[in-house]
């Protein structure tokens, strides 16, 4: 017997008798004989708990995680400190083990968390309506595209190349299904090319999709870029990093119809990419087109305040083929983690964290720019991530840094061939000044060694010093 079942031989005998069959195998006779497997699965038999633990611990040990390496990699997911109370609360059985709250009378805890989370995301983005979360960032962009098609009855998206490559790829995948055309607009000096964007938007455009800070870390002037969308009646969709919204003007104040993004930085682990959650906020006008669960406030028959799943008439279980989206199971527990993290940071802590990121990032940017063989890839304003260009092959440099215990950043060349030796460097509150200094040193040494071994060592005329001035 496996450890997760309880039926004893006596139980089985009694149960079979009540059913009126001889053996459990009889119950499987409804499966036509040729379709019964008739052999054990070709996977090993079950192991004891200690053995399973050891197997998985051995696999885990072969990964260079952020405890083994100092992590400057971002690109959408960041090594933030998740406060202890997040784990304590999200691991409670009462939050961990229920299903989606279909029976609201016994799900008030989860429903109220959704309502609080929606309020928090609405505050962060400056838009009045939030859902309770989607899968993750990129598929949320694709869901925004679907919403925009429904809202405008058009099938064309104008997308900045500053939008996360995974989001653009996911949008392209979904577009094969819902059949939309995608027009991409390039970057100039790290920022979306405003003239090209304005020229690309037309009366057939369902949505203009931007990201700020964009994938290269640059803070876009969303309001100015969004004017083209307004002019042609397209929706303005803005992907954003929630951790920057303590200091950046919220998308809702910049004219966004939809603000969304990857929620991982809020209260979620790196987890090699998931589970995290996507957030999705919009104007009142879009409330009946929203994807995903939304909790709403109501009253019980005695007049007590309570919460339920609201606007279910949008959803697949009611509307079936006419639903606004197909999503069902989403990422409720991850959204709870975000809510607890946000409550812990609080109104002022959240802003202070944004400021801390901006200050350390400014320092790191200058520090790296002063390293021989490193140049800024753009000089646009940044909050927590910035891009540099290396004068040596980035893959080899990253290898050297890894040997030195540092994950130095995210190489850009694969997704931005125009930046073959580009590197994206991310900062969190866990990255101290000392670690940033160490990064500069290790990076400098790696570039120097690689360049000299390739016989192409180029020193700059002047030995660079950290500059005092800003780079904005």
């Amino acid at each position: 017997m496996t450890r997760y079942t309880s039926a004893t031989p006596d139980d089985r005998a009694e149960m079979l008798e009540a059913i009126g069959v001889e053996s459990a195998a009889d119950l499987f006779e409804q499966i036509p004989e040729p379709l019964r497997l008739g052999r054990p699965l070709a996977i090993p038999d079950g192991l004891s708990e200690t053995e399973v633990f050891d197997r998985l611990a051995a696999l885990a040990a072969r990964n260079a995680d952020a405890e083994k390496q100092v992590c400057f990699v971002g690109a959408g997911m960041y090594d933030h400190y998740v406060p202890a109370i997040v784990d304590a609360i999200t691991s409670r059985s009462e939050f961990l083990t229920p299903y989606t709250p279909y029976q609201p009378e016994i799900s008030q805890g989860g429903l109220q968390v959704m309502f609080e989370f929606q309020t928090a995301m609405s505050e962060l983005t400056g838009l009045p309506v939030s859902n309770a979360g989607l899968y993750e960032g990129p598929s949320s962009v694709a869901s925004a595209g679907y919403l925009a098609m429904g809202a405008t009855k058009r099938r064309r998206f104008v997308v900045s190349r500053g939008v996360h490559p995974h989001s653009r790829e996911t949008l392209a995948t979904y577009s094969q299904g819902y059949r939309a055309e995608i027009v991409e607009v390039g970057l100039e000096g790290g920022l979306t090319d405003a003239a090209a964007l304005a020229a690309a938007v037309d009366g057939e455009t369902a949505a203009v999709i931007l990201q700020s800070p964009n994938f290269l870390g640059a803070v876009e002037d969303v309001e100015a870029l969004g004017a083209a969308a307004k002019e042609h009646g397209a929706l303005l969709v803005v992907a954003t990093d929630p951790m920057t919204l303590g200091i950046l003007k919220p998308p809702g104040e910049c004219g966004a119809d939809i603000a969304l993004g990857e929620g991982q930085p809020l209260g979620n682990r790196l987890d090699f990419g998931g589970p995290s959650f996507g957030f999705f906020c919009a104007t009142e006008e879009q409330i009946r087109r929203m994807p995903g669960r939304i909790a709403g406030e109501t009253e019980d028959i005695d007049g007590r305040r309570g919460f339920v799943l609201a606007l279910q008439t949008r959803e697949q279980h009611i509307r079936r083929e006419k639903a606004t989206n197909n999503i069902c199971t989403a990422q409720a527990l991850n959204a709870l983690g975000a809510m607890v993290h946000l409550a812990w940071l609080g109104r002022h802590g959240f802003r202070e964290l944004g400021e801390l990121l901006a200050q350390r990032t400014a320092y790191a940017r200058e520090r790296l720019a002063a390293v021989d063989g490193v140049e800024l890839l753009h000089e646009a304003p940044v909050v927590r991530e910035f891009a540099v260009r290396l004068e040596a092959p980035v893959a080899a440099v990253l290898d050297r840094c890894a040997e030195g215990g540092i994950a130095a950043g995210y190489p850009l060349g694969h997704e931005y061939p125009e930046h073959e030796n580009g590197l994206l460097v991310a900062i969190t509150e866990r990255r101290s000044r000392e670690q940033i200094d160490e990064l500069a040193e290790v990076l400098g040494t790696a570039i120097a060694e690689i360049s000299s071994s390739r016989g192409s060592f180029s020193t700059k005329d002047v030995q660079k010093e950290p500059q005092a001035g800003g780079v904005a």
Binding site: T5, G46, D65, S93, Q103, Q112, A172, G274, I327
Partner: protein, 505 residues
Amino acid sequence: MPASETPMQRERAKTIYEKSKPGRRAAVLPDAGVPERPLEDLIPANLLRSEPPRLPEIAEPEIVRHYNRLSRRNFDLDSGFYPLGSCTMKHNPRLNERVAALPGHARLHPAQDPQRAQGALELMWLLQQSLGEICGLPHVSLQPSAGSHGELAGLLLTRAYHADRGEQRTKVLAPDTSHGTNPASVTMAGYEVVKVATNERGGVEMDDLRAKVTDEIACLMLTNPNTLGLFDENIAEIAALIHEVGGTLYYDGANLNAVMGQSRPGDMGFDIVHLNLHKSFSQPHGGGGPGAGPIAVSDRIEPYLPRPQVVRRESDNGGGPSFDLEFDRPKSIGRLRGFQGNFGVFVRSYAYILSLGADGLAEASETAVLNANYLKARLAEGRAGERLPIAFERHCMHEFVLSGKPMKKELGLATLDLAKRLLDYGFHPPTVYFPLLVDEALMVEPTETETKESLDAFADAIEQILTEAESDPEIAKQAPYTTPVRRLDEVRATRRPVVRQPLGD
């Protein structure tokens, strides 16, 4: 009927924003430790926020208390029987939480160079192999984030498969018993749904199917056992019909818990399967996710699988194999999401598969079917047998569907009333009003991890509720009484939605 409020009911809901007071806080952040400059020197003032978002101001002890008290307003699987049909609420082993939390998993950056994430990629590869064997389909992508995402993936794969053959097909067949995500995914994938009727044995109505199978059909989506908990014995013939016209056969794996190690969708003729790791493979539901919806496919669908794909490479210099992410897949439908998928869920599900193994998985399904049939037999007795007849009288697989139609007619109790009264008895009700085909449906899935005693107690509770209703149906109609709140006005939440807390400054 209790006249007074329970302590929990007396405590009126108050959000964390309503507990906020200016000047309170929890977080203390490290000093920047670098020379600081005015923010406006770093970022132009017109891009900056004027006021911080109105997040709560509250100290840590009160945050902890707030969420702990809220948690008690939830019913959960760890505390009680949860026979929610189609959801497979089986035990969530704590070992899985422990291994998922190991820093090598939990703090691994998704963009880590594959050379330095070999353990994670090997785990994903091993999980792919295991799921492929369980499904009888050799190629697996772990990328989809949940069942409905897997469905969308499957339909996009179908589209790519046909497009590659120069064909354009427009319609997808799905039985009238199908889950809502099936038709919703069909529309999102740009197809039109064609409904197929159900026969008197609860399976696909073959004549109706034959009439609707044309060369416009891209795919048939099916779950087997279906949402009535019944195995469709005609599956081989169904598969042949679809394949004859060049369509694909899609298996909604929400009900896989009935057949693990017993029968395989690939052997039934399916081309594409999604699995719900948050159902059959013990990932906790979290009150609505996270989950994962890996897909397994046949050879002819493989070229179109999402990118990147986890692959194993043999070394050419006699070393061990290595694992990598393969991006160069020219026929791929592309990405469905960011990075590689819900890896934390993969760790838990792989731990579950290692724990049970081939023998344990087969036994889990067998016990799930045994438990379901036993509970069905118990509910065929006494009052339940009369008022809540089984929708289709035959042995079921891992779940079964009752109809509350006689109960409604004879006692005036709707299925909803019975469900709400069960809350007072400490049980999570079955899934109600699904599948749509059955009047006043109650869909019961006990799972293998429940004891006979739990099943008996549930059957006894139903009997008691029906007995009580014979003398006073109002009791159930006004239920529940003991829950933190009583019956809620759901209509109002849709007509005049209040979806966030209004805040002053």
